[in-house]
Subunit: 341 residues, 2 copies
DNA sequence: GATTTTCCCGTAAACGTTTACGAAAATTGG
DNA sequence: CCAATTTTCGTAAACGTTTACGGGAAAATC
């Protein structure tokens, strides 16, 4: 019907006043007569005027958008972070462009370039597991693009990041197993050059060392981070002469995959073997999996806040924010002597 | 470093030619000398020129963005749909603004209005469970905004929609239970005025009728659609004199919630009671829950395609697309006589 | 060699805003 | 009642593009 293309000019013409006056009236400028303001607003409503944000953005050289790139958003983890982000930035009038790299380094690059073309004012990124887009991010940082990394970071970069202390919490998880009486603790690690893989592995090693348990190379295997990758690890572990009595998995998907795989082999958790995950997932909870829970929403919120700070003031120093986590103990890792037979 | 604000004017000045020529060279116009084109491109690369999309959009009165509003994206369902959408529209150069209504009607309205202000060229919407924003959508449709509804639709609206035949697949799910020998089949329905609630309930009724099983009002309860809402339903069902021997749940979260609740009461699935869900979820799969799987990615892709059609040609007639689904039978609903004791 | 055609390129307007600057009108002060 | 303010509004430039139009030079046609 009404072409819905009412512009500020139309209002001006209809009222016989200048477009400057109309603009000022709409923006609530003080230097405008209340009466004319009322007229303008009335006419605007009548003609269904909607400001053209693009024109405004062009003028102000901004567009109120930030970009988010995550490896995936099928599992609960990143969606929760994104919700935290939106909570904060929407309040400030920002919109969020969400991309998923699908764990692919090249798609990640494409996404970032797309977002750059869309002229987002800032980026929040969690890199793909094989990401080697250092050059890209270095260029962006050089060009003053505000950018915050979450969870999956690139340690080589001087950029803001919000993470948890993976090493510490991996330590706590493994320590828990040790205190439960387990001694032959295997570790299913993630992809080899992923930062969280290294940090959690380090925590695992720390714990063994702290409790004088010898480290056995064959109990450590890099399987990856997706549920279906657990099978390979279990295959190998269960073929060892000396089988582990507990597994510390890089994350919940691997832990869950392991539990399912163990079940297939007729092994019971925790009777035959204990399992601990990381980054508590809904599925893990249901399966009564002990795990470290990350403050996902909080991660998103904090990341958004530090990004907004950088957007508003380009020379805000970069900061590394380490959030707290929690070890939730469930049935998958009860003390050795309390296990049902 | 380099202020990254190179404009077409800067290129023109640096080369001593007009901005029109530069623009044409960059856009690969045929009416440009190859030599000058080369010069322009070289200079563009040298000065790190990036076109300002906003200016271009302003001129062309479009912005290559579509909006998506879903009730949530924490569970797998909508994220998968969104991925399908992105697959299609990214290829055409469109970006997607994703909002979640959090199942709130008012937030849904706010989201839509935000997207409208962002001047998206089209919308893909799945309404909140209590959504009564009919006026809003009617206005949008009136104002020629291309819009496609998925999964959660508003039947009162003349708009494109892509769904599955909930009634038919609910029928099949219940029919499956009947054929397994179950007779006292309860239905945990969703929120009362949600379209899928009505359609799936209808399928349930159809099936009972088709197999001459009397319909019992007390076996039907509206519990909602979120996992934690299952408890209330199970509470009531298990207090009946004549308890059901099977449950058809509106969706997987309710089915999963029911299974957990039943387990707490010491009841086994399927030995004591069978359970069937809808919209197959990863958790459901792991718990061996029989369920109807929806082609989520496909839903997203098709929705995106019909939306793009409408964007490109405003008077494309609205269409209702009904996609196929599948009943996946698992351990939660095996035939009565085959159940382990 | 004159005319037509083709090839390149520049001028300027347009997209819908915001805002610095200035000016007319209204208000105040004495 | 005149000067000094203050209020209120209009003019015009600007944001970074694209493109219709026109024009000059080179190439083609006869």
């Amino acid at each position: 019907m009404s072409s819905s293309k009412t512009t500020i000019k139309d209002l001006a013409k209809a009222l016989g006043i200048s477009i400057a006056t109309v603009s000022r009236a709409l923006n609530g400028s003080h230097e405008i007569h209340p009466e004319t303001r009322a007229k303008v607003l009335a006419k605007a409503k009548e003609l269904r005027y909607k400001p053209n944000i693009q024109a405004r953005n062009l003028l102000k050289r901004r567009n109120n958008m930030i970009g988010v790139v995550v490896p995936e958003f099928i599992t609960f983890f990143f969606p929760e972070i994104i919700i935290g982000i939106q909570e904060v930035v929407n309040k400030e009038g920002y919109q969020v462009l969400i991309c998923q790299s699908n764990e692919s380094s090249t798609l990640e690059r494409k996404n970032i370039e797309m977002l750059e073309e869309s002229m987002v004012e800032g980026l929040i990124v969690s890199v793909a597991k094989e990401s080697k887009n250092l050059d890209l991010y270095e260029r962006l940082i050089n060009e003053q693009m505000p950018i915050v990394f979450v969870n999956r970071i690139l340690p080589e970069l001087r950029a803001s990041q919000v993470i948890i202390d993976d090493r510490k919490w991996a330590f706590k998880a493994v320590e828990h197993l040790i205190k439960c009486g387990y001694r032959k603790i295997a570790h299913l690690a993630g992809n080899e050059h992923l930062s969280v893989t290294k940090r959690r592995l380090q925590g695992y090693l720390d714990a063994l060392q702290a409790y004088d348990i010898p480290i056995q190379e064959r109990l450590i295997m890099y399987v990856g981070i997706q549920q279906d990758r657990a099978k390979a690890g279990i295959d190998l572990l269960m073929n060892l002469k000396e089988k582990p009595d507990a597994i510390f998995a890089i994350n919940d998907p691997i832990a869950v995959g392991s539990m399912l795989e163990l079940k297939k082999r007729g092994l019971k958790v925790p009777e035959d073997i204990a399992v601990v995950g990381f980054s508590e997932s809904p599925i893990g909870k249901i399966m009564e999996l002990t795990s470290v829970s990350q403050p996902t929403f909080e991660i998103g919120r904090i990341a958004a806040e530090t990004l907004l700070k950088q957007i508003k003031n380009f020379d805000t120093p970069t900061e590394t924010i380490i959030l707290d986590a929690k070890l939730n103990i469930r049935n998958s890792s009860i003390p050795v002597h309390k296990r049902p037979k």
